[in-house]
Amino acid sequence: MSERSFFKNRWLPYWLLLPQLLITAVFFLWPAGKALLQSVQRQDAWGLNSSFVGLANFFDLFRDDLYLQSFGTTLIFSVAVTLIALAGGLLFAACADFILKGSNAYRSLLMWPYAVAPAIAGALWYFMFNPSLGIIANALEAIGYDWNHALDGGDALLLVIMASAWRQIGYNFLFFLAGLQAVPNSVIEAAAIDGAAPVRRFWAIIFPLLSPITFFLIVLNTVYSFFDTFGVIHATTQGGPIQATSILVYKVYETGFLSQDLGGSAAQSVVLMTMVIALTFIQFRYLGARVHY
C-alpha cells in the first residue's frame, strides 16, 4: 500500500467499516466457524442430537472413492471449461480485431450470454440435448451418434462443459478484444514489414503481449468453473450419472442437503475453504491482488 494523504479521526473509520465488518462477521466468519465446528461432529438429520467425533468426518471423506473421484471430475471439468472458453474467446477476438469494421456488431451479439444465469444456460442446453425431444440429440441420432446423458457419463460431462463454456466465451472475448485493441499499431506494422504472415505474426508477436490478460482470465475462468457452475449441474444432470458430473461444489450441497450428512458436508466445506484461501493467499502474495466477480 502506497503512503498517501489521509484524514485523522479516531472513531470515524471504525463507523465506516462497521457495516461491512458486521456483514462479513455474521454471514462469513460465523458460518465458516460453524463449518469447522460441524465438521468434527456427527449430527442426525433433524439436528436433535449431535456428538463429537474428532476428525472422523475427514477420514470418511478421504476414504470415499467417490469423493476423491470428484476431485478428478472437478479438475477435468474446470480445465475443459477454461480451455474452451478461452480458446473460443481468443479466436473470435482475433477475428474481430482483424476486420476492424463491424466488430461492434459482433461484440454485441457475442457478449450477451454472460448475462445469462448458469442455471438457465444449463436448462437451455439440457433442453437441446433431451434424448427424446432435443433438437441436437435428434440431429446426432440422425448421423448415428446415440446421445444419452442419462447413462453415458462422458456425454453428461460434455453437456455441462458445453453449457458452462458457452456462457463464458463472450466474456473472455471482450477482454481479449480490449487487449488486442491496446496493442500499438507500430508493433503490428513493424511485424508486417518483416513479411510475417498474419497468423504467424499473431502467435509470434501479438499473443505474448496478451499474456497478462490471458493469465488473469485463466484465474477467473477457473474460479467460475469451480463455483459458479453449481447452477449448471443442479439444473441439468444433478451430478449423475454415477456421479460423473458431481463437481466439488455440487457435492457440498448434495451431501449437506440431499444426503443430510451435515458433518460430511461441513468437512467438505472446510476442505474447499482451505484450498481457496491458500490459493488466494498465493495469488495475493505473488501475483498482485486482482479482482474477480
Binding site: P13, L17, F92, A117, Y171, H234, T280
Partner: protein, 311 residues
C-alpha cells in the same frame, strides 16, 4: 501498412458468424419452443420456426403462472428477482464504498487486520459454506444469544432487571435473507479501494486546506468522481444478483418469494409428470431478458466496468 486480403477478411467473418450462430442458437431454440403447444415439441421433428401460441404461452406464464406449481405468475417471480438484484446491488455499493473509504483515507489501529478479514471473503462464494450459512440465516442472533447464555449474562439480566433476553432474528423467507449473505463478499470493496488509490493526493490536501472534514470530502469530491465507476459496477452487480441460484433455492421456501431463475428449475423437474417444456422455455426467455437487456443497453458502462476495474 498491414495487408488485409479479401480471403482472410472473408475467413474472419466466417468464423465470427459461426460464433454468433453458436451463441444465438440456444436462445432461438428456447424462443421457438416457447411459441408452440406442447404436442409439437413432444412428437415429431423439432420445429425450427415459431409456432402460433406465442401470446397464449407467454400470457399464461406471465399472469397465471405455469401449471406446474402453485400457479405463481412469472410477474411475481420477476419482481422478486428484481428486488433481490437491486438489493444486492445497492447494499454492496453502499457498504463497500464506506469500507473502502475508511481503508484508503484513514490510518487506524487494526486497519490491516480488518482489511485482511474482508479480503478473505473475496474468493469464497456462498456456495462453499452453504449449510452453516443456512443455519445462521435461520437465526442471525444465534451467536449473540449463545454468547449471553455461555457467559450467564442472560440470567444476570433476568435476575437484576427482570428482562428476559431471547434474541431472535429469522431471515429465512425474507428479502433480507435473500440479500444480506450475498453482500458478504469483498469484490466491490476491493474495486473501490483500487479506484481511490488513483485519486490524486492533491485533492485531499486541497480539501483539508479548505477545512473540509472527511465526510464532506467523501460526499462532495469522492462521490462525484466515482460516478461512472459506480454506474458501471451497478451493471455487473445487477446481473450477479439477478442470476443468483443456489441461495434463493434454499432460503425462499415460500412461493411468494420464488425468484425466476429458481422457478425454471421447478418447471423442468416434475415428479410423475412430464415437464411442460413450452412453458418452461417461455419462462427461460423471460428470465434472460432483463439482464441481457441491461448488458446490451448499457454496453459502454458494462465494458468499462469489466475492463477498467480489472486492470
Amino acid at each position: 501498412m498491414v495487408e488485409r486480403t479479401p480471403l482472410l477478411r472473408f475467413l474472419a467473418h466466417l468464423i465470427l458468424i459461426v460464433g454468433v450462430v453458436i451463441t444465438l442458437f440456444p436462445l432461438w431454440v428456447a424462443f421457438v419452443a416457447s411459441t408452440h403447444p406442447i404436442e409439437n415439441l413432444i412428437s415429431g421433428p423439432f420445429p425450427l420456426l415459431p409456432g402460433n401460441q406465442l401470446v397464449e404461452n407467454y400470457s399464461k406464464v406471465l399472469f397465471q403462472g405455469g401449471s406446474s406449481f402453485g400457479r405463481i405468475p412469472a410477474t411475481t417471480m420477476m419482481l422478486n428477482s428484481l428486488i433481490m438484484a437491486v438489493g444486492i446491488t445497492v447494499g454492496k455499493l453502499v457498504v463497500s464504498f464506506l469500507a473502502a473509504f475508511a481503508i484508503v483515507y484513514f490510518r487506524f489501529p487494526g486497519r490491516n487486520i480488518f482489511f485482511f478479514l474482508i479480503f478473505i471473503t473475496l474468493m469464497l462464494p456462498v456456495e462453499v459454506r452453504i449449510v452453516p450459512t443456512y443455519d445462521v440465516v435461520s437465526n442471525v442472533f444465534g451467536p449473540f444469544q449463545a454468547l449471553l447464555e455461555a457467559t450467564r449474562i442472560d440470567r444476570l439480566l433476568e435476575a437484576v432487571a427482570g428482562i428476559e433476553v431471547d434474541l431472535e432474528w429469522r431471515l429465512l423467507n425474507t428479502y433480507m435473507g435473500l440479500i444480506l449473505p450475498i453482500i458478504a463478499s469483498a469484490t466491490a470493496t476491493f474495486l473501490f479501494r483500487q479506484f481511490f488509490q488513483t485519486v490524486p493526493d492533491e485533492l485531499v490536501d486541497a480539501a483539508r486546506i479548505d477545512g473540509a472534514g472527511p465526510m464532506q470530502f467523501m460526499t462532495r469530491i469522492l462521490l462525484p468522481l466515482s460516478r461512472t465507476n459506480i454506474a458501471a459496477l451497478s451493471v455487473i452487480l445487477f446481473i450477479f444478483g439477478w442470476n443468483q441460484y443456489l441461495w434463493p433455492l434454499l432460503v425462499a421456501q415460500e412461493n411468494r418469494l420464488l425468484t425466476v431463475v429458481v422457478g425454471i428449475q421447478r418447471y423442468v423437474n416434475a415428479a410423475d409428470s412430464l415437464p411442460v417444456w413450452h412453458e418452461a422455455m417461455a419462462l427461460t426467455v423471460l428470465a434472460m431478458l432483463p439482464p441481457v437487456i441491461v448488458v446490451l443497453l448499457l454496453q459502454r458502462l458494462f465494458l468499462k466496468a469489466l475492463i477498467d476495474t480489472d486492470k
